[in-house]
């Protein structure tokens, strides 16, 4: 049994605006846990709260956003109880991040060596030649050719794929137990994306780091993740292992999402989820997916479904799990 390194319980992050008259429940009672060497995918469309969720995990929320409930246990202690000063020690050392745009996540006027070495310097106490050796190892690990030359260079001298690999090296530098990757490949070309994803998997195998993959792309989830959390309007609508979720989705949103993605070599009409995702500041009563759901009935519009266990390590929040299964049989 591998060690559990992160346990998030009932996490709720709200944005308050206009003097508290409007509350946006960006993350609403989300729970999950992550083991060593495991990859968990958080998937959902824009505005479903997935980015707020990962910012909550490192407590780097924008002003106006606040974690209003729940706990985040990282290596056995609740980081919500830490002061911001103590959090500085946690970030980079225990949990690191890779962001979407490598152009803005690297500092353009600091050379690669300093940027990659920063966390190793701060958190692991490496100095001079050992630090340099560590930076070289990291660059080699992310397959940067001729690392000794490259570490003296600056981000603008690199291609997009290389920059994102360096962002990966920066994240690994403090030897964190967890890396959160927020849409790390959206700005990369297809072949470069595939390379990068393979690289992350290999690094994970070598270091045993736990990965949290935040994405809207189901293909990335299928390729990378062990477990998946599907989010809709700030809530978990379904959770389970990636194979289970793809082959036997229990929530109509999940199955609709899977069926709405074009598949290579198939021209079958795509499934269309009608309408728009709801406005988080003004959620409807009942199930927030009901108005777009093909099988919703009056009950769904009036009552919010609880997240219930529907199988071993499977959770779903839907009143019509059985009917949904039946409708899938037909399809």
């Amino acid at each position: 049994m591998t060690r559990e390194i992160l346990k998030v319980k009932d996490l709720a992050t709200h944005y308050t605006g206009f003097g508290g008259s409007r509350v946006v429940k960006a993350v609403d009672e989300v729970s999950f846990s992550l083991e060593e060497g495991q990859t968990i995918g958080i998937v959902g469309e824009s505005g479903c709260g997935k980015t707020t969720l990962c910012l909550s995990l490192v407590r780097l929320l924008a002003p106006g956003a606040q974690i209003v409930g729940g706990s985040i246990e990282l290596n056995g202690r609740d980081i919500l109880k830490l002061s911001q000063k103590e959090m500085v020690e946690v970030r980079g050392k225990e949990i690191a991040m890779i962001l979407q745009d490598p152009m803005t996540s690297l500092n353009p006027v600091i050379n690669i060596e300093t940027q990659v070495g920063e966390a190793a310097f701060k958190h692991r106490g490496l100095r001079s030649s050992t630090l340099r050796e560590r930076v070289r190892q990291l660059l080699e690990a992310v397959r940067i050719p001729s690392p000794d030359v490259r570490m003296q260079e600056f981000p603008h001298q690199m291609s997009g794929g290389m920059r994102q690999r360096i962002a990966g090296a920066v994240a690994l530098s403090g030897e964190p137990g967890i890396i959160i990757a927020d849409e790390p490949t959206t700005s990369l070309d297809v072949t470069i994306q595939a390379q990068y994803l393979d690289l992350l998997r290999r690094l994970q195998k070598d270091t045993g780091v736990g990965l949290i993959f935040v994405t809207h792309d189901l293909g990335i989830v299928a390729k990378m993740c062990d477990d998946v959390i599907v989010m809709y309007a700030g809530k978990t609508v379904e959770k389970g292992s990636v194979r289970e979720i793809f082959n036997n989705p229990n929530h109509p949103y999940t199955s609709a999402l899977i069926r709405s993605v074009p598949k290579l070599g198939s021209k079958d009409p795509l499934y269309r989820i009608e309408g728009q995702p709801p406005d988080l500041s003004n959620l409807p009563q009942g199930c927030s997916f009901a108005s777009r759901c093909a099988i919703a009935d009056d009950h769904c519009f009036e009552h919010e479904p609880p997240l219930i266990e529907v199988g071993p390590r499977r959770l779903a929040a839907c009143w019509k799990i059985e009917e949904n299964a039946a409708s899938k049989e037909q399809a």
Partner: protein, 323 residues
């Protein structure tokens, strides 16, 4: 569920919203419809409520002075007060009179009346000078940014050359060649200050030109004139407004400087700058209010204009680009 704001107008009948893309799309789209239905008066009051108090007050009084000068001024600003031929002290000094509470100047003209009339010059020159500079700058900036190439290179080199000349020197030179009159001053200030608009608007147009909607307008067959007037200018207008509001103060000071140097608004028309000049020697004789009155007037006006400009910038330019 306790939804905090439930009295919105967007809530559609639930069943209906399931019908299809058409209805669903429209239900989302009219979420801002309540904005339109709100009465115009309410909107106006809301607008007034969020104006900055201090600067609006200062500018309001200034404009009020400028418009109603004949009603407000106790005396004729260019003729001596009856029976007075030279300086009289301010009201709080021995021999002063509340009829001319700021005293009279060397010709016996009422200083307070001249301050009130001077607001006219400042307001007219400040606004029209800014507008003139803005108009030249808008044309130059948009032309340079949109057409690019050698036109752009030429205009921008002219701007560089312009900026190399001290503005006041340029203004004095122009004023001496053209001859001093209020409308010449407006023209001169326009010619002197257009560069600040041209530079920034050009940059703005350069990025706008690459925006897809401009390309799509071209694809739709729109000519250059249409693209510039319908697609470019409306989108740089906010920037233009912000620049203009920040230029007003500079232009007012420039006008005062020219008048102070004797190449501005010609005597006997009352202008705060020339009043400063007239009062220069009187500091030594203890008649400090002659200097203080126009100085305070200029200072307050510029302060009000700049505060208003800052507020406008924050309002119209949310990214705070420090124009």
């Amino acid at each position: 569920m306790n939804v905090p704001d439930s009295n919105n107008s967007t809530k559609m009948p639930r069943k209906a919203s399931r019908k299809g893309a058409l209805e669903e799309a429209s239900s989302g789209e009219i979420r801002n419809a309540n904005k339109d239905s709100r009465s115009k008066v309410r909107a106006f009051l809301d607008f007034v409520k969020q104006l900055p108090v201090g600067s609006t007050l200062i500018l309001g009084i200034l404009v009020f002075f400028a418009i109603c000068a004949p009603l407000l001024a106790p005396h004729d600003p260019i003729r001596p007060v009856e029976g007075i031929y030279t300086y009289t002290p301010a009201a709080w000094k021995d021999g002063g009179s509340w009829a001319q509470w700021l005293g009279t100047d060397f010709l016996g003209r009422d200083v307070w009346s001249r301050i009130i009339y001077g607001a006219r010059v400042s307001v007219i020159v400040g606004l029209t000078g800014t507008a003139a500079a803005g108009a030249i700058g808008m044309v130059m900036g948009v032309v340079a940014g949109y057409f690019g190439g050698w036109v752009d290179a030429f205009i921008m080199r002219v701007v560089d050359a312009w900026l190399a000349i001290p503005t006041l020197v340029l203004a004095i030179l122009l004023s001496m060649t053209l001859g001093a009159s209020m409308w010449n001053i407006v023209l001169i200030l326009g010619v002197v200050y257009w560069t600040r608009y041209a530079r920034i608007l050009r940059g703005e147009v350069l990025t706008l030109r690459e925006r897809d909607f401009v390309k799509l307008a071209e694809v739709a067959g729109a000519g250059r004139i249409r693209i510039i007037t319908r697609h470019i200018i409306p989108n740089v207008f906010n920037t233009w407004m912000v620049l203009a509001s920040l230029t007003v103060g500079v232009v007012i000071v420039a006008e005062a400087s020219l008048s102070f140097l004797g190449v501005g608004v010609p005597a006997p028309q009352p202008a705060w700058g020339s009043m400063l000049n007239d009062a220069r020697a009187q500091l030594l004789t203890g008649r400090w209010w002659l200097m203080a009155a126009p100085a305070v007037a200029i200072g307050l006006t510029v302060l009000g204009a700049n505060l208003f400009g800052d507020w406008l910038r924050v309002k119209l330019d949310p990214q705070q680009r420090n124009l």
